[in-house]
């Protein structure tokens, strides 16, 4: 995968598969500390300590359709090659938190890519989940909480053309407004 936002989509998918009702995503770019951080926190089934310890091994997966799970191992490897790390904290019955950090300016760091596309995919694709997305660029913060929008729509599908337009514009302008000015990322809408 060539974009961090694609990894984000992939990891968030794990939360949905763990039957999470609430998933909180944070993406933070800080040019002063030169760090890029992403966290994905859910209230899904969680894992026991033994599974957590093995979860970044490519030959561990809870899925039954195939025997290898490459999502977390890929991302861990990418982070570690950019002065970063990936940690997984989890508790059975409570939920899971994945945290990954990169050196923002590292030459090998993947671009964030189409963050709006990722968030839109998740919000539209899993309407039963309550999604909270925070983008932080230095001291500027954009929070997108889909609960407010769903309440206002009152049963109207998120896939209606006007709703899609509204969501896409809200997320993309929200992120753009908070991006650090001296850092040229490549977020497209």
């Amino acid at each position: 995968m060539r974009e961090l936002s694609l990894h984000l989509l992939d990891i968030a998918e794990n939360s949905v598969n763990a039957k999470a009702g609430n998933v909180e995503i944070l993406v933070s770019e800080d040019t002063r500390t030169d760090r890029l951080r992403m966290t994905i926190q859910d209230d899904g089934e969680g894992m026991d300590a033994e599974t957590v310890a093995r979860v970044t091994d490519p030959f561990v997966t809870s899925r039954t359709t195939r025997k290898v799970g490459l999502g977390l191992p890929f991302l861990k490897m990418a982070a570690e090659s950019c002065n970063g790390y990936l940690t997984v904290q989890s508790q059975k019955g409570v939920g899971t938190r994945v945290e990954v950090e990169f050196q923002l300016s590292h030459i090998d760091r993947m671009p964030l890519g189409d963050l709006t596309g990722t968030i839109l995919s998740l919000v539209i694709g899993f309407p039963q989940v309550h999604w909270t997305f925070t983008y932080r660029g230095n001291d500027h913060e954009f929070i997108f909480d889909d609960r407010l929008i769903k309440a206002e729509l009152d049963g109207v599908s998120l896939c209606e053309p006007e709703v899609l337009k509204y969501l896409r514009e809200t997320i993309s302008t929200g992120i753009q407004a908070c991006q650090p000015v001296n850092h040229t990322s490549d977020l497209s809408s």
Partner: protein
């Protein structure tokens, strides 16, 4: 909460959508499911999803539900898209690039013609 620019916008959107729903005849609902496991994402499923959503927005297509699913065990044929129109049986498509996705919306969803060259026999 700085999240919603203008709640009135959403209210208006909802009312218009409800109005449209009333006008719609019994053409039946359309379900589109995009496979988004690690395999699907690596094969470009997000761009496929994006092409579907963009087309819905640009062509103003109402009544289509787009959702996601994980890996269904056909990783080598990702991106996979499943389409169900009304009461008709589900059709599974493989190697759905954004271009193929637009064809599926136009020919299958729009005109009832299955895109045979990308159909997977299940």
């Amino acid at each position: 909460m700085p999240t919603i620019k203008n709640l009135d916008d959403l209210k208006r959107i909802r009312e218009e959508a409800l109005e449209k729903r009333k006008l719609k005849t019994a053409s039946g609902n359309v379900q589109v499911v995009v496979g988004m496991g690690t395999c699907g994402i690596a094969a470009g499923a997000r761009e496929t999803m994006k092409a579907i959503l963009d087309t819905i927005e640009k062509e103003n297509l109402s009544g289509i539900t787009v959702t996601q699913t994980g890996c269904i065990g056909l990783c080598e044929r990702e991106p996979i898209v499943m389409v169900t129109v009304g009461e008709e049986p589900k059709v599974t498509y493989g190697k759905v690039t954004p271009e193929v996705a637009r064809r599926i919306l136009k020919d299958h969803v729009g005109a009832g013609k299955i895109v045979e060259d990308h159909k997977i026999a299940m």
